[in-house]
Symmetry: C2
Subunit: 484 residues, 2 copies
């Protein structure tokens, strides 16, 4: 088939683009005109992801094969560029594709070789050998004994009504425990009546969009692609706000923006904190324009060198929606998240789930409430903070020893090694070869971002297992030394 | 304000309809033109629900106040009739409104009297004093000791990787345990690779619609309104299939139907079982037309007088999607549901959630897997079946003693007392007065159903607490005796 590509192919892009598009078109055609407008982008992305994965699995796209630039493929398939870019991002996150700056997007060497024959179920995607990807607590830290003990206490004392369906706000006992915890740990002004429990930040964003956030949502120019997609799936538009060393450049928020999603404590992923003047400015922006701010406090518990930075929400509880979850403190396998909402929004957001809680486990909520009430959750956070601080210090020592520059080290579970654009691409290419899972800063850039001059590697140090961390650091240092 | 209504008002409907519409229009106007087409119906419903609740809370709609017929209000607000009907249904389910046949829809007497001043948080909706509503396991049966023990065993033995994010299919260990359980308990032909775990049936329906089910979905003419809404929210259309004593009238499925959602074991809510010839006919329909069947096996474990009826899925695993959850076996506060999919659909449905499991608690999945593996889950089901059979027998004895007719008694957690249309309305009106929570059959009717001649009360006998059941039965019998 003339559209087949392999690692030897290095012809001009348009050859692949046209051929691949025509090929994929066969698989895509019958699904793209069905369904109403709202879901069309998401459905098209899903179908494109499926079609590309099928093409990799059945060998039409071989190991290392280059993919057309997303603009070309979008034109060829008559899809929005953002849809194709999002599909690429998803396949990169899944490990099927790798993005190499200057060399475009290619099929990962590792995946295609191990792909099962078409029609069978793909093997689970294996994590990279050296896993510096971000986004989760260390699995070995999960407080198993605490969870077991809290389950015993919570279920022994809960009234029978705890096992009835609940209103969509979530467990009252957890909302009360969280209000206290968030106040003392993060300075959040929280009333249990203003808390709505969810299954995580993605769910929270979907609950808010677009009814609460409106249809024009400003986001940091660099951030998790999936958060942008969660907002865009409802039909809202995201607009990037540039970042500098003080965080989001509030003055650059355009007219007509209805809301703003921020990670003020430790910007995801650059690691800068929103400066005090900017914190004041952004609250002022919201009050002046009637805009709403969503504070995604995804790793606010982890601050190592000084007092934690309190939540932005405390400065403007009337204009800030505070969002958090246990993904970084316990595990992403416990699906508990929360929103602390301005009073006038709490009921609206809760009931927008429906009459009953549709998704969040109330049993887990009771267990977490018991862990907070008993002090076990706070102790676990302190232990985790010490664990991650030691990890960060080890990482910093190794990087300092080879003269590597680092930023964003004051808190959180990742840091940034700034590089040139060219070196970012070279490092990523070699990282893939060496089985090092690591993210380029450019992966996080909003497609319309204007501040794309900065590049580098985002190094998550939370994920590696205790037994592998030393070898993982050796591999990372080796990479940085070898790729100048 | 001339649009205020109170329990003394009994003027013609159009007076209220016009006034209420104009009044609500003020609160609704600014939100109805935003957002893409897909979500518009759901958003409009949500806003209408909010506006009506606000009107009740701040006294514009007083206790007992009549609401306009939904057709009038729909015309007045320029909304689809189905949107207004769905909003009424939701508020009835929440207890804000009551529907009285022949007397239209009114504000509930109880709710308005206890409503807090506008702007404060409403008190949680209290369950009715005598609760014969359907839809959940008895809260007192939750196997607390089993759950605690299974948590201890599951968390003690799980590998660290259990606390990493998982692929969206859900826990492998639970899919393996469920495959065995569903095969032996329900005759389902299940392969772990064809199971996708969810948080419940609503989530499952949303995952399937419209990409898998298509845009024209046939449903039983009587069924849970929220299931229809979950399908319609994605833009699909539902079409009612009439019911008779053999279940859904398969011959009446119209042309152009892409899929069919059924409750074959114990029709929800009429309680009939799909007869063997109909089971064969519906599989034949699917194979002939390329249609897909969703089997909602919501209470298949509960069969009292003979062997359980095996799942329809076993007759056509290539054309049937089997859906279930723990809501009736454990508790709706444990959010675990499952889909057993034809092989070619499993991967597509799983990945349509995204790259990772976004909502379902993996920790709970591990606990349930352990409960199944240890035999504790099967023992719990057997205990529960005995408990509900005793309850059913008590209820039947009381109903027989007063000569009441009943149907749908062979299984499940509810039965039907057939009545005339007029008596259904009179019973419901008096039930509200007496604090008896019970549902009229007409509540479940599809807005376009043609087989609406049957009426009656749906009596759920699973929910009442052990301490109240005897008094609850007295109340129910008293109602039936007093309202001839």
């Amino acid at each position: 088939m003339e559209t087949q590509a392999n690692s030897e192919t290095d012809g001009p892009w348009h050859t692949h683009a046209g051929g691949l598009g025509a090929d994929l078109h066969l698989d895509l055609a019958d699904g793209f005109d069905t369904g109403p407008a709202r879901g069309r982008g998401a459905q098209q992305r899903r179908r494109l992801v499926d079609a590309l994965r099928a093409a990799i699995e059945d060998g039409r796209l071989g190991a290392g094969a280059p993919l057309p630039p997303y603009r070309s493929l979008a034109a060829d398939l008559n899809l929005a560029r953002g849809t194709v870019a999002a599909a690429y991002e998803e396949l990169i996150a899944q490990g099927w594709l790798v993005a190499r700056r200057g060399a475009g997007t290619r099929v990962a060497d590792s995946v295609a070789a191990s792909a099962p024959p078409s029609g069978t179920v793909p093997a689970p995607l294996l994590p990279p050998r050296h896993n510096f990807l971000t986004g989760q607590a260390n699995a070995g830290l999960f407080p198993r004994a605490d969870w077991i003990a809290a389950t015993r206490r919570a279920l022994s004392t809960a009234p029978d009504s705890a096992f009835d369906p609940t209103a969509p706000h979530g467990s009252r006992v957890l909302r009360e425990a969280l209000a206290g915890y968030l106040a003392r740990a993060r300075g959040v002004r929280a009333d249990p009546n203003q808390i709505v429990l969810t299954t995580g930040v993605m769910y929270s964003l979907r609950l808010l969009t677009p009814t609460v956030l409106g249809t024009t949502v400003a986001v940091e120019s660099h951030g998790l692609p999936f958060h942008r997609l969660a907002i865009e799936e409802s039909g809202a538009v995201t607009l990037p706000v540039p970042l500098d060393d003080d965080g989001a450049v509030v003055d650059a928020i355009g007219d007509g923006v209805s809301s703003l999603v921020l990670t003020p404590s430790h910007q995801s992923p650059t690691g800068v904190s929103l400066s005090p003047p900017r914190r004041a400015a952004v609250i002022d922006w919201a009050r002046r324009t009637g805009g709403l701010i969503v504070e995604d406090d995804y790793d606010g518990e982890y601050r190592y060198d000084r007092e934690p930075i309190g939540a932005l929400q405390a400065l403007g509880p009337d204009v800030v929606v505070y969002a958090g979850s246990v993904s970084k403190t316990l595990s992403p396998s416990v699906r508990i998240g929360w929103l602390v909402l301005p009073g006038h929004l709490a009921e609206q957001v809760a009931w927008s789930k429906g009459v009953r809680e549709p998704d969040a486990s109330i049993v887990d909520q009771l267990v977490l409430a018991e862990m907070i009430a008993s002090g076990a959750y706070d102790r676990h956070i302190r232990r985790s903070r010490q664990f991650y601080r030691r990890r960060r210090d080890q990482l910093l020592a190794r990087l300092t020893a080879i003269g590597a520059q680092v930023t964003g080290v004051a808190g959180g579970l990742h840091l940034l090694i700034p590089t040139t654009a060219q070196r970012e691409g070279a490092l990523m290419a070699e990282a893939v070869n060496r089985g090092i899972g690591i993210s380029p800063l450019s992966f996080f850039a909003h497609p319309a971002a204007t501040d794309t001059a900065r590049h580098g590697l985002i190094v998550g140090f939370g994920t590696p297992s205790a037994s592998s961390y030393s070898a993982d650091l050796d591999a990372l240092v080796g990479l940085l030394v070898d790729v100048a």
